[in-house]
Symmetry: D2
Subunit: 202 residues, 4 copies
Amino acid sequence: MAQNVAGFAEEYQVGETLKQFISNMTEHINGLKKNIPIEDVISFVDRILNSETIFILGAGRSGFVARAFAMRLMHMGFRVYVVGETVTPRIQENDLLVAISGSGETTSVVDLARKAKKHVGCQIAAITSRRSSKLARLADIKIILKSRDKKAQPKGKDKDIAPLGTMFEISALIFLDGLVAELMKIKNLSEEDLRKKHSVLE
Amino acid sequence: MAQNVAGFAEEYQVGETLKQFISNMTEHINGLKKNIPIEDVISFVDRILNSETIFILGAGRSGFVARAFAMRLMHMGFRVYVVGETVTPRIQENDLLVAISGSGETTSVVDLARKAKKHVGCQIAAITSRRSSKLARLADIKIILKSRDKKAQPKGKDKDIAPLGTMFEISALIFLDGLVAELMKIKNLSEEDLRKKHSVLE
Amino acid sequence: MAQNVAGFAEEYQVGETLKQFISNMTEHINGLKKNIPIEDVISFVDRILNSETIFILGAGRSGFVARAFAMRLMHMGFRVYVVGETVTPRIQENDLLVAISGSGETTSVVDLARKAKKHVGCQIAAITSRRSSKLARLADIKIILKSRDKKAQPKGKDKDIAPLGTMFEISALIFLDGLVAELMKIKNLSEEDLRKKHSVLE
Amino acid sequence: MAQNVAGFAEEYQVGETLKQFISNMTEHINGLKKNIPIEDVISFVDRILNSETIFILGAGRSGFVARAFAMRLMHMGFRVYVVGETVTPRIQENDLLVAISGSGETTSVVDLARKAKKHVGCQIAAITSRRSSKLARLADIKIILKSRDKKAQPKGKDKDIAPLGTMFEISALIFLDGLVAELMKIKNLSEEDLRKKHSVLE
C-alpha cells in the first residue's frame, strides 16, 4: 500500500492547494470584516451581558465551533452551558440560546430552538449564513455571516477546496473569537483573568 | 441588570475590537502561508494516506479542532477515530496517532501519546506551536505552526485580543482544512463525494 | 458550611435509603427477567447480526446507556456508531438505528428516528418503557422494558427513591449487557476477544 | 448474509443467557447491599454536601456511569462538572474530585487525579473495585465496590457472561443512584424538585 513519497508530492505539488486554500480564506475573512452586521452584533453583545445563563447549541463541525465559544464564555466568567452536555440544566425564560448552523436547517438545532422558543420563551440568537433559513426566521437576534454553507451549490474557486460548511465554520470561529475580544474589553478582563478559570485537568 | 444598549455600544465602540481581531488574524494567517513546513506536510500526508487507521487526539479547544479534522477525514472515506469517543477501538502498530496541542504540554495528550509510542509503537504526528515541547519531542512527524500558545507570555498587539491558545487553534483549523483540500485533490474527491458520507442525523 | 458528620449520619440513618434502593432494584430486575419479550429480543438480535452498520441514539442518561452498549458492540467487532459523535457517517438503508428513550418522547430522539425512517428507510429498534410512545410507534422492533420512566407519575415505594428515569436507565443497561452476553455466545466470542478491541488510550 | 431467524434462536436458545446474566446480576447486587462500606459512604456524602464544587472523572464505560451520576447531582442543585466537558472550570482547593475506575489504573484518570492532588490539593474520592490500585491509594475517600473489573481474570460463572468491567459498571451505577436517593432525603428533595432542573432541550 506504500506509495513513493517523493513521487506523490511532486505529482500533486503538495503544498500548492494548501496555499490556495489559505489565500481564499484570507480573502474571505477580509470580506467578513467589511460586512460585520454592527447593529446585530450590538444586540448580541447586549444579550450576552444581560442574560441569566447562556446556552450554546450546534451540531457537527458547527457544534465544535459552538463549544469553542462556550469555553471562552466560561473563561470570562459567564454562566454558560452546551445543549446536550451532562450538567446542562433546564433553560429558563431569562436565558439566551445561541444556535449555530451554517445552513440554518440542521434538524436537531432547528427543532430544539423552536422548542425553546415555544415552551420557554427565552431569547434566541442564530449564527448562520442564511437569513431565510428556518433557524434565522425563528431567532430574535440574527448574525448572518456571508459564507457558503454546506447546502449551497459549490461555485467558483471554492469548489472542492473548501467543501460543505468549511467557509462558514472557520468564519464563525473567527467571528466569535473576535466577539470574545470585545467582551473582554467591555468586562475589563485580561488574558490572566481567563487563565485563572482555564481547566488544569486536561 | 439591563444596560443602556446604545450607551455601552458607544462607550466601548463595539465592533472596533472585532475588526482589529480579524485584521490580526488575517496577518497571522498570511504568515502561516509563508511558513508552511513543506517537507513535514509531505510526510504527514504520506502517513495519512498509508496508515491503516487514523486516531485523533486533543483536549479543550484544540480537541474541537481535532474533531473537526476527524470529521472531514471520515467524509473523505478514511478509517478514523477520536481518542476518548465511544466506538474508538484499540490502536495498532500500523496506525497513525495525530495529537494536537498548542503548548505541546497538555497532560492527557502527552501521557496518551507517550503510552501509544511505548506500548503500541505506532507513528505519532504532533500538531503544535512548540518544537521543544514534550509532545513534539516524542512525535515522528512534527507540524510546527508558529503561533502564540496559551503558555507563552502575551505580547504586542495580541495581548488580550487573542487570549490563551486562540491564535494556535484558529491556525490549526485553517491548516488542517487546507490539508483536507490537498487530500481531496490527491484522492480525486469532489465535494459531492464528501456530502455522501455526511451525517443526515444531526 | 461544615456539618457534624456523625450528626447527619445518625439523623438521616445514612445507608438505610441506599439499602432500600438496592432492594427495590433487585426486585425490579427480577421482574425484568420474568417479562423478557422473547420474540422481540430474537428479532432485535437478528437485526444486530444482519445489519451492515448499527447506529445508536439516545439523549441524557439514556444516552449514556446507549453509549455503553455501543462500546460493547465495538468490542465484539460490529460496525457501530453513536449518532452525534464525530466520525459517525451517513446512515444507509441496510443499517439499523437503535434508539433508547424511557418515555419514548424525547424530542431529538423521536425527530431523528423519524427522519431516518422517512428519508433513509432503515430498520429502527426502540428500547423504551412505553409501547404507546411516539418512538415505539414508529419503530420496526420494539423492546418494551416495564419500568417507570421520567414522565410517569411516581407512586408507591419508588417515589423519591428512584426519581425520573432511574429505573428504566438501570434496567436498560442490564438488559443490553445481558444481550451482549447472548451475542458473545452466538458469535463464539470470549472475554479475551473483547479485550483485544478495548481501547488502551484512556 | 441473512440467517434463518427461528433457526439461530432455537440453536442458541436466545433468552437463556440473558436470564442467566440477570440472575448473576441480582445475586451480585445483593452482595453489594450486604457489603456497603458505611463509614466510607458517610465520609463521601459529607464531602459531597460540603464541597464548593464537585468534579466527576471517568473514562470509557465508567465515564458514562460518571456522567449519569453528575447529571443527577445537577438535578439536585449541586454545582457539578464533568472533567473534559466544555464548560468545566479550573478545580480549586475546596472542591471534590470524584474519580471512577473499576481497575483503578486507567491512565488518564490516575494521571489527572494525581495532578489534582499535587497541584490543587483538593479532596479526591475514588469509586473503584480495587483497594490496592493507584487510584485508591491516592484518594482521600475510597469507595470499594467488590466486583470483578476488566483487568481481573474472569472466573466461574461470570466468565464470558459479564466481560471486562461490566459487573463493576452496573454496580457503580446502582450504588451511585442509591446515593442519589440518600442525598435527596438529606436535602429534602422530591422527584418534582429534580424535574424542575431536568433539561427540556434534549
